[in-house]
């Protein structure tokens, strides 16, 4: 972190204590310095965790239903549950979790409180109301007496139609997140007015580059929803072009995965080295990584449409090339993360070529969870390279391989990182000690084992051609030939893995609920929020890295190059043509 500029007033000095009521002294925590910001971050995290709990229950139902292990719903309701799972986990758990984490990170690293209470309240309410509307319409699909439903899955491809309130809710969630971004940029402006020449503190730099990427990419889905799906579902326009709306969705659909992932990267770069007992290897390379994500995350969406008709191969090829270059920042991250952990272990006296690995603090859940998330992400990155290959993709597109892949990325790299960091962060946001530490210590391993079982079986099932998104993967006219293992054994692994994951989720929630209910406020915390200086600091990097306007301009130019002509092609024959009326009619 750029503490040398004196603005990063974390808890670097052990002298920063507060007096408590009983006369003892304790270390100053984030909640003491920024009570308002801590409260906002807490609310975001509680909503995220609630969505996570319900989503995990739905995940369990799916895993057991699909494998014919236990069925508590009719197969026609499976898709309502699956819509809930996708929306609650991939949209709500992520967006709120990220908001909570970024609110903390930006405030901590700038050392400046959020500037406007009204703004904060505004985005928090907007996101919450949006969530309630979307979740309410989905649940409506389970009950005949509720007139609304949204059985459209979290990708809501037209012409399948949801109740207008579902689209309005989704739009509010996204607009709310834009407000959160504004909150953080205003904090930065405030900080800048006192620090005209300083380098942007690293965490704040990461928050802002991520949000710039988010503004650029979520504009696509906002246009899809506000200009097409809402008026169409209200009957104001009679038809929409399914290919155009789908393309707008995927314009957003790839960058959104980096929106999920970059918060994990923030933790891996800035907190993990400390948890391993060391410090970040290189601040400049961390900045380079985030700039690359800002530039390359968006002009790649066509790689989700390799098998779509109506899109020329050339555009798909451009997207593929960009996608492979997007590997670069992740490969760089792999290096930094491993190097920082090794450095940490050696600082603590570890020796040997690989023996240092076992000297890492695996018994501490905040470390083990983040490290296991990183390991799973490496595996997910590998299967992602297969997805990205334009021709190999044809083998696995829309098979269960795909959920096998993204449960490693968003479902573990993001989800497990957030859970693990909560063990470290929630005490600092509440002033309460973590409760049930024994349960917390094994929880990351439970998740890890569950995910190894579920994900490997899903990958192999995909190679056999078993489709995703289906309640009954047994067909009269189709046989699935397993390439490795047997279909029956895969089912068992998915069922057991899914159950372990659910247990892992409940263990996490029990620790959080216990901490919230049983922890005493104003406790002497076991964790401290100080983050040591990187081995090579920001001052060694060129200043142009901090020129966010420049990078945004280049990012926009790349998007125009990748999407300008294809989108023009699609709208040239009429913006609503060839068009579809809503289904069910």
């Amino acid at each position: 972190m750029a503490t040398e500029h004196g603005t990063e007033t974390g808890f670097e000095t052990e002298q920063e204590y507060v007096e408590t009521e009983d006369g003892t002294r304790r270390r100053l925590a984030f909640v003491d310095r920024f009570p308002e910001a801590a409260r906002t971050a807490r609310i975001c995290l509680w909503i995220a965790f609630a969505a996570f709990g319900v989503g995990a229950l739905f995940g369990l139902i799916q895993a057991l239903h699909r494998t014919n292990t236990l069925r508590i719903i009719p197969s026609s309701d499976y898709y309502t549950i699956l819509t809930g799972h996708g929306v609650l986990l991939a949209l709500v758990f992520t967006t709120f979790g990220i908001a909570g984490l970024f609110h903390w990170a930006n405030t901590r690293s700038l050392g400046v409180s959020p500037t406007s209470r009204r703004l904060t309240q505004g985005w928090l309410w907007t996101m919450s109301i949006g969530t309630l509307l979307a979740a309410g319409t989905i649940v409506g699909g389970l009950f005949d007496w509720i007139p609304a439903s949204a059985d459209v899955l979290y990708t809501f491809y037209a012409p399948l139609e949801a109740h207008p309130l579902f689209y309005i809710g989704a739009a509010l969630l996204i607009v709310g997140s834009w407000g959160a971004g504004l909150d953080w940029f205003l904090q930065y402006r405030e900080w800048r007015s006192h620090n005209p020449d300083a380098r942007i503190p690293l965490q704040s730099f990461m928050v802002m580059t991520t949000m710039l990427m988010w503004y650029l990419s979520s504009a696509g889905v906002a246009i899809e929803v506000v200009f097409f799906l809402i008026p169409w579902s209200l009957g104001l326009i009679s038809q929409v072009d399914p290919l155009l709306t789908r393309t707008l969705f995927w314009y957003f659909g790839h960058p959104v995965v980096y929106f999920w992932l970059l918060p994990a990267y923030v933790v891996w770069y800035t907190v993990l080295p400390k948890l391993a007992g060391g410090r970040l290897f290189s601040d400049p390379l961390a900045r380079v990584t985030f700039v690359l994500f800002l530039l390359l995350s968006t002009p790649v969406g066509f790689h989700h449409q390799y098998t779509d008709p109506g899109i020329a191969s050339g555009y798909k090829l451009v997207a593929m090339t960009n996608t492979f270059f997007l590997l670069l920042p992740s490969l760089l991250t792999l290096f930094t993360v491993v190097a920082s952990m090794e450095h940490g272990a050696r600082q603590q006296g570890a020796k040997g070529y690989l023996a240092w690995l076992k000297d890492l603090p695996w018994e501490r859940p905040e470390f083990s969870g983040v490290a296991l998330a990183g390991i799973m992400f490496a595996a997910g990155g590998f299967s992602g390279m297969i997805n990205a290959g334009m021709n190999i993709n044809y083998l696995i597109h829309n098979t269960i391989w795909v959920p096998g892949h993204f449960h490693l990325t968003v479902g573990t790299a993001y989800a497990l990182t957030l859970m693990a960091i909560a063990y470290w962060l929630v005490p600092q946001l509440t002033g309460k000690r973590l409760q049930f530490r024994g349960m917390a210590a094994i929880q990351p391993f439970v998740w890890f084992v569950g995910m190894v079982l579920m994900s490997n079986a899903m990958h192999r099932g995909g190679l056999a051609g078993i489709p995703r998104r289906t309640a009954e993967p047994q067909y009269d006219q189709v046989t699935f030939d397993a390439v490795v293992g047997t279909v029956g054994e895969m089912r068992i692994q998915i069922a057991i893995g899914g159950t372990l994951l659910f247990v892992g989720a409940m263990m996490f929630l029990a620790v959080m609920a216990g901490t919230w209910a049983l922890g005493k406020p104003n406790s002497q915390l076991r964790v401290n929020g100080s983050i040591p200086e990187p081995l090579s600091g920001a001052e060694e990097s060129p200043r142009v890295l901090d020129n966010l306007k420049l990078w945004t301009a280049i990012a926009i130019a790349l998007v125009l190059l990748a999407y300008g002509i294809p989108l023009y092609d699609m709208v040239a024959d009429g913006i609503l043509w060839p068009g579809s009326v809503p289904f069910p009619e």
Binding site: S75, S76, Y79, D151, Y157, P159, L160, D241, P242, L243, R246, S282, P284, L285, Y306, D308, P309, G310, I311, A312, S313, L317, M320, F325, L327, L328, L331, L332, F335, T336, A339, G389, N391, Y394, L395, H397, N398, T399, L463, G465, P467, R468, T470, A471, E472, P473, Y475, Q477, V478, T479, F480, S536, P542, D573, W577, P578, G579, S580, F583, P584
Partner: protein, 173 residues
């Protein structure tokens, strides 16, 4: 800016890796000519398909298998919740020659995947997915709709039956 020696090495290796990936795939796509779906099938008004007015289009014929001068052409409609042809009667095609498929939808988005193979396309209303496949061996392939298309999605399936050239009786042309 100081970059550690190992890190520079890693950076270099990563770049080589990436370029090699792209190279292999472009070679794989252009060289052996793996069939991929693009915009060659053209567009069609979904309501025209729904009403069966195929003569109003110039890129989609009545569903069926046609033995034409340009080879075997298969026209398939994917709809809630069956393939036509494919579900009630299998799609019969000859082995050893390129078969050209044209698939579209009159209602919602579907998928068309021969399970376990790379014959895989989305079926999007308004677009005709066109691709060519050569089956080297005779036998049966299951067709799965792999995109959620409504509450009966899991019942949407069909079959392609590949027969010897001599047993193939093409439809009208």
């Amino acid at each position: 800016m100081h970059v550690h020696r190992f890190e520079r090495l890693w950076f270099g290796v990563s770049l080589v890796l990436i370029v090699a990936f792209i190279g292999t795939i472009i070679y794989g796509a252009v060289g052996p000519g793996i069939a991929m779906v693009d915009d060659s099938g053209g567009t069609v008004e979904p309501s025209v398909i729904a009403d069966g007015n195929y003569e109003q289009t110039n890129n989609f014929r009545e569903p069926g298998v046609y033995d034409t001068e340009d080879g075997v052409e298969v026209y398939v409609i994917a709809r809630q919740y069956f393939f036509q042809p494919g579900t009630t009667e299998p799609i019969r095609v000859p082995a050893g020659e390129p078969i050209s498929f044209h698939v579209t939808s009159p209602d919602v988005t579907h998928g068309f995947n021969l399970a376990g193979t790379n014959v895989n396309t989305m079926v999007i209303p308004g677009q005709v997915a066109e691709f060519s496949v050569t089956f080297e061996e005779t036998g049966e392939h299951g067709i799965v709709c792999h995109e959620y298309c409504g509450s009966g999605h899991h019942t949407m399936e069909g079959q392609v039956v590949v027969v010897e050239q001599s047993e193939f009786e093409g439809g009208e042309n």
